[in-house]
Amino acid sequence: MGRYVIRRVLQMIPVFIGTTLLIFFMVYALGDPVAAKCGDRACDPATAAQIRHDLYLDHPLWQQYLHYMAQIFQGDFGTAYNGQQVTELMGSAFPVTLRLTIVAILFEIVIGITLGVITGMRRGRPVDTGALVLTLIVISIPTFVTGYVLQYLLGVKWGVIEPSVSAEAPFNELIVPGLVLALVSLAYVTRLTRTSIAENTRADYVRTAIAKGLPRSRVITRHLLRNSLIPVVTFIGTDIGALMGGAIVTERIFNIRGVGFQLYQGILRLDSATVVGFVTILVIVFLAANLLVDLLYAVLDPRIRYA
């Protein structure tokens, strides 16, 4: 098991370097950070040169990258467009997005798995067909569409919630946005759970468990679920990436001042420090989540540990 862990961690390192390099390259090589700093007017050469020097831009790209990485490891993500430290922006933005994501993941797990188990065990019956159709429709509607529709229906037409979320973004205000964020992933989780359960219900080891005279509840929890949920758990982990993308959209719709909001602002203002900083952190989070999921997978499925 230890060897497996080490191997996965080592594999992560080149990926991390590659990803951050790619992002860095996309922003700094393709964009022009100098022009952004000057705003709408063009910069005069002296100021431009000064800015270039401050931003370390007068060095070759790879040196810039190394310099940036070194800064990051010291906790310095540079200065944002409004003069604040990027780390300050992160400090205010991440907790909000974290709450939103937690709500979304809870929805995903609780509703998705429950629905998946119910339909998986009643395969072919009306509940199953209905759920299949419903999940298919949900998957097809992009998050931003459901976001607006729900915002309109619940916020404007029926007045059940506030259409916009306040700046402090407490948990209760994040319920509908969290649901919107979770919906597509929820549908995938339901289908995946359903398929996994349906396959495993027919499995030989379930037959053995029944033949052993175990009570039905034990067969379901200890044997069926433990096996069926393995692919689902791993999916949820990798789905974090999709949630991050969806968070940007959701935050924009409901006016939530989280990571997505800051990122979007940074892009609008061509502020490379903010963009690269936030995206780098998000990538780290994503990679870490994937690593955790792989480890969890090994814990749940002993066949992986000794591979």
Partner: protein, 338 residues
Amino acid sequence: MTTEPTVPSVPTEPPLLEVRDLHVEFRTRDGVAHAVNGVSYTVSAAETLAVLGESGSGKSVTAQAIMGILDSPPGFVTQGEILFRGQDLLKMNAEDRRKVRGAKMAMIFQDALSSLNPVLSVGNQLAEMFIVHEGMSRKDAKSKAIELMDRVRIPAARDRVGDYPHQFSGGMRQRIMIAMALALEPDLIIADEPTTALDVTVQAQVMELLAELQREYSMGLILITHDLGVVADVADYIAVMYAGRIVETAPVHEIYRRPAHPYTKGLLASIPRLDQKGRELYAIKGLPPNLLHIPPGCAFNPRCPMAQAVCRADVPPLYEVSPTRASACHFWKEALDG
């Protein structure tokens, strides 16, 4: 059309298990498949009954019905009784039946790798029997599990009790299945093709173990197989099944020496022999029938070399060949002699 066949056996004591006129059907979207059509047999304590037949003969379905693990839907028991120590299992409620399963009668399956839970340790799955049926503590159950593994001759049991099924070899996995089956010292064990997935040498070891344990615990054993060779050493009686019916029963030596049914004869003739060098291997012509459309009369008639008009019209009952033998063939006398 079928009469109530009973399997004549030498009565020494009341039978442990008595299956009477069992009918099982599968309701599929293509129609109703008659998997078991009036099967009766008995098994006594310390006795081994081998049930022989090809795929689709109904031998496994009968066993599943006895254990109560039939996939229902689409499978349904439509007729018959299954008397275990005098009590009809089919009339029991689900909870009582569950308590019997595993504790009083147990089943061993063919493929131990897929039949064991891959994410639970072997010791866990063995201990489960004691925890659920006897309310033992986990610690005690674990020691019993180690004991069991020793009993089925798994080396270094104490060290391996926490290992997972995929870490064992095929033969050892099958022993673990056997251990799980006899954990609570059941009265009856049903082994459904226990050695089919194993190498020949391992086969012999596992069968030997099974026979030894059966003797030690005086269990009744139903051995389901399609392999006549495996059966010869272990069985006391053989019941041959075809298309959901029993076509012949006999004590083991007599059936090998003088079969009384053309199907049995065909099966025996299909066994490759060393002195057949240079000759084409014999196989019974044709294929087992589609269970959705079983031929009228004797189900074997399309493939039978002795088939006559009466075979296509009347389903043969189990004629008594001798006090210990029966054959479901109108021409059993000819089969016996020819």
